[in-house]
Symmetry: C2
Subunit: 581 residues, 2 copies
């Protein structure tokens, strides 16, 4: 896939591009790239926002370049996470950058010299405004998706709330609604190093030697935050660097560890391609960004979005923490928006969104694709019949439903067919299974039902389902309470430990029972909190939960007979209950 | 408590104090403080090693100083974690420091000017050698304990292995056997900032303006690593600093956040009290320290120690990670040494060992004290009888025993009385209960038995006990395997779900059973993997575990009768089994 960077001079309104913090640009040039074919309906544009020091060259290979491909070419390629066979991808260098788009090193048309110290204070709002102007001038009044990682995720999020409806979907990866205090602190020290470089000259250093030492130091520091501690250990450990690299005994007396060579290399590589003023302006825009700042809450701020949003956190990321992504998804739940949330196992740390994308590709692909899901979620006839009974118990005229421990969405898929108008969300902790839920227009949330429901606000849903999973919970009582905190109505099904076969097994054989519904050994069973129907009703009474309807389910003939005779606790192998606060 | 810093010129051997990396000192002066009364037997000395930039003023208040107390006065005080009513405490400024002990800013007797660039390369070994010479010259050939936090923990550990038997006990808090790669990286960048300061002059800057900018920057960077992200957020969040602090619009354009004021303040405070050369030499000694380096393994290196060791990690510490402390304790287990391990909840981060010491005080106090434990671990007559039966099943002539899920050590205490010669270690996850185990000379390890036994090496013990806890395990089969990996013999007791009362309860009432041994409700019971005696034997067979002896225990008369008649699975409410690989 051959790509090339193009440049476009934006057509600006009278008075130029006005900036949020005051000032304006009379001219703005934007560097951008495209790949993948635009559909005849012009409805398949995916706009990618790059991270702090990225550029427009997101994918493919530049003509004649045999060495490098675009910075996200492992994500953006034919058949990839952002599939160039399906989508027309656009990526642009950000305002304030130094890779083709107007930035501090660009010539100020008013003076004919580089902006330097006269470059105005820019914000994330200004950056995405320039993005939108680019898209409009390329002829798009609407795009399919906006997506980005790290600082790019902030831009994607801001794009979706600032221009509601412009992007149908929004992907926010390894990012946050603002920087953490710790991340601010690192940036503050980093900027301080540039400002204290003897070459700094208040930013007007062009042609007189740039503040390269400070910029390299800032980059070295930042690079530590891009990797997890585990990844640093794996890459470098405490290994010493080869002695032949020592050029000057006197200075290199303090240089010993391989990790130092790595940081030096990163610093030196960076100063060849990046401008110190751009670094200062962009990191400041990032640090000052706070989606919540002018609103009562993050949910209020995010209530503006009309995009279906995907939020992805990386477990080993300590620059943008998973809890920052959780906060975004929680706020979107609160604002009753379509949101999917995944925290992927990423021992490599923040940079994993660029370097270790295998799982991320699956998540993004399933979120973006409009191709049909195909045959997933097949179940047995017994389960299909149980699901049908459950679906018939869904209250009428509800707007949203949550399926807890939904696995690959077999139940949600059946709900989709009968109730496509209901906003459907599934929760599970199996990433591979859960990604499939996002096809067919359902939302997915990766979470442990036992512990993770704290990220779903009160009354976020109209109905919540817990199908065949009560007994695997560490705290069934708490989960029931959580379920009725999140939704006013719950549909719960579980196996009945009071069924005749189970009683008999223990009574006669003196062994822990095993049945079709409970096939495990006592020591490895996930069913750690079994109960009988009577036990369940007792708990509901204790928790002041109303039992509105009960369906007793049985398969064996003797069970059916017992049920028919009214011995429900003996006859039913499983039970389906509709509960209410 | 009034304290004062004293100075002593060490009497050095011929040729001076020879250094590990070559070179020597012809003169060494050491600044030190003492508090607490020395016992007539001179056997109550606790030597405290200070952290990176600390000094000898560990506790109490200097005469006339109304503002500051010693840096660890919340730990070292009458009745405290290091109780000055019980112990005679000594703390000395380290070699290479700048608070009274010979360091780069001291006058080099050979030249009459400060050492500066001529200060030799020092190591942690050199630092603790000077410590030991100090102690000997104060008249001690043996001390009760050496203890330190952070870099002080490294010194304490090195002291205990380099001078085996000199210190009876050793405390290593929030420390490691070497620095992580990430911590190295931060130090490397920090030193780079000093070396690039225009005032650096290769270290010979005394009298000509010190490299203060670089030193302040290095300190600011280091300070970020001393706090957890959560603590930074709590202290400063994204709050902006008051406008009145802005003195110079031009420079302060980039200064906005409160966290920046904090870092600036820390940097400025530091350069008033610390010397850049000391910072370089001490951080390098710390970075180069690697207890494992000259040995096949950490266990080999630690096999030299004769001290009873306490290792304490802090949960929120990301400079010295809990897994580094785990590695030390695991190696000590492997070397069959007396070791206790705790990971304390410390959301504040690394500095919590100085600032949030409440729990740490309890752990250290229980580890150090020689005062008797008093009446703890009282149990019911039934339990006492069960314990006696268990103790009678301990194999003869064993050297060590491990009690898994030991709580406050009620069983260990009984073993102590009958078998004081056996090395006794308890594992539990309740910190408050577990600290008590360290009294009576037992070791304690804070861990979740279900997940945490990976830190105990194969065959570390001769016998392992799991008393009345099998059924609360998430993975009873794995725990049994772990138990017989750690020790060749296991003593396991558990409640019998096949007992007649339990069977009857389910059979007749159709409810999950509740008995004296199993008093919980189905939804909140910790007993998540119950089994009958038959089930247990089946599992042993499957895991190829030999059942060597079984004691059937019962209290009720009918149960006793059933047992007498041979219906063990019906009659026994609990059972005690001796198993073997």
């Amino acid at each position: 896939m051959t790509t090339e960077t193009k440049k476009i001079k934006l057509t600006l309104p009278d008075g130029g591009l006005k900036l949020e913090m005051g000032g304006s640009f009379s001219e703005v040039e934007v560097a951008y790239e495209t790949c993948g074919t635009l559909s005849p309906e012009r409805d398949n544009v995916v706009f990618i926002c790059h991270a702090l020091t990225g550029d427009a060259h997101v994918a493919g290979r530049h003509e004649g370049d045999v060495k490098d491909t675009g910075w996200w070419s492992n994500m953006v390629n034919p058949g990839g996470g952002i599939d160039t066979d399906e989508f027309h991808v656009i990526c642009a260098n950000i305002l304030g950058g130094c890779s083709g788009t107007t930035g501090p090193s660009s010539i100020n048309p008013a003076t004919g010299t580089p902006y330097g110290s006269s470059f105005p204070h820019i914000t994330v709002g200004d950056i995405v405004t320039a993005h939108k102007m680019l898209l409009e001038q390329l002829g798009f009044q609407k795009i399919y998706a906006v997506i980005g990682g790290s600082f790019g995720g902030m831009q994607a999020l801001e794009f979706s709330v600032r221009f509601p409806g412009f992007a149908e979907k929004c992907g926010v990866i390894a990012s946050g609604a603002s920087m953490t205090t710790q991340a601010l602190a690192f940036d503050i020290v980093g900027r301080d190093l540039i400002l204290n470089d003897p070459n700094w000259n208040k930013g007007d250093y062009y042609g007189n030697g740039a503040p390269r030492t400070g910029l390299a130091q800032a980059r070295k520091l930042a690079h530590i935050t891009y990797l997890s501690g585990d990844m640093m250990k794996e890459k470098f450990g405490r290994r010493l660097r080869m002695q032949e690299h020592v050029e000057n005994d006197d200075i290199d007396e303090h240089k010993k560890f391989e990790v130092e060579s790595y940081l030096d290399y990163q610093g030196q590589k960076f100063i060849k391609r990046f401008d110190a003023n751009s670094y200062l302006h962009i990191t400041r825009a990032m640090d000052e960004y706070d989606l919540e700042a002018d609103f009562d809450s993050l949910a209020d701020s995010l209530s503006r979005t009309l995009s279906r949003t995907l939020v992805v956190a990386l477990s080993g990321d300590w620059l943008f923490l998973p809890k920052q992504s959780e906060a975004i998804s929680k706020a979107l739940f609160k604002a009753k928006k379509d949101v999917s949330y995944f925290c992927l196992t990423a021992p490599a740390g923040h940079d994993a969104f660029l370097t270790h994308v295998e799982e991320l590709v699956e998540v993004v692909a399933n979120f973006l694709t409009r191709k049909p899901a195909g045959a997933t979620g097949e179940v047995s006839a017994e389960k299909a019949s149980d699901y049908a009974k459950l679906i018939s118990m869904i209250p009428e005229n509800i707007a949203s439903i949550l399926d807890l421990a939904c696995y690959d969405g077999a139940l949600l898929r059946r709900i989709s067919i009968q109730h496509p108008e209901i906003r459907r969300t599934g929760v599970d902790m199996d990433t591979d299974a859960l990604v499939k839920v996002m096809r067919d227009g359902c939302n997915a949330m990766l979470a442990d039902v036992d512990a993770g429901l704290k990220n779903i606000p009160d009354n976020a849903f109209d109905c919540a389902v817990l199908s065949e999973s009560l007994q695997v919970m560490k705290h069934p009582d708490k989960v029931l309470r959580e379920l009725l905190r999140i939704a006013p109505v719950g549909l719960v099904s579980f196996p009945n430990f009071g069924m005749w076969r189970i009683r008999a097994s223990l009574m006669v054989h003196g062994r822990m029972p095993k049945t079709k519904q409970l096939p495990y050994e006592w020591y490895n069973t996930p069913n750690i909190h079994l109960c009988t129907i009577r036990d369940f009703f007792d708990l509901c009474e204790k928790l002041e939960i109303k039992v509105e309807k009960v369906e007793y389910l049985s398969t064996l003939k003797l069970s059916k007979l017992l049920n028919f005779l009214g011995f429900k606790n003996l006859g039913s192998s499983r039970v389906l209950v509709k509960i209410r606060r």
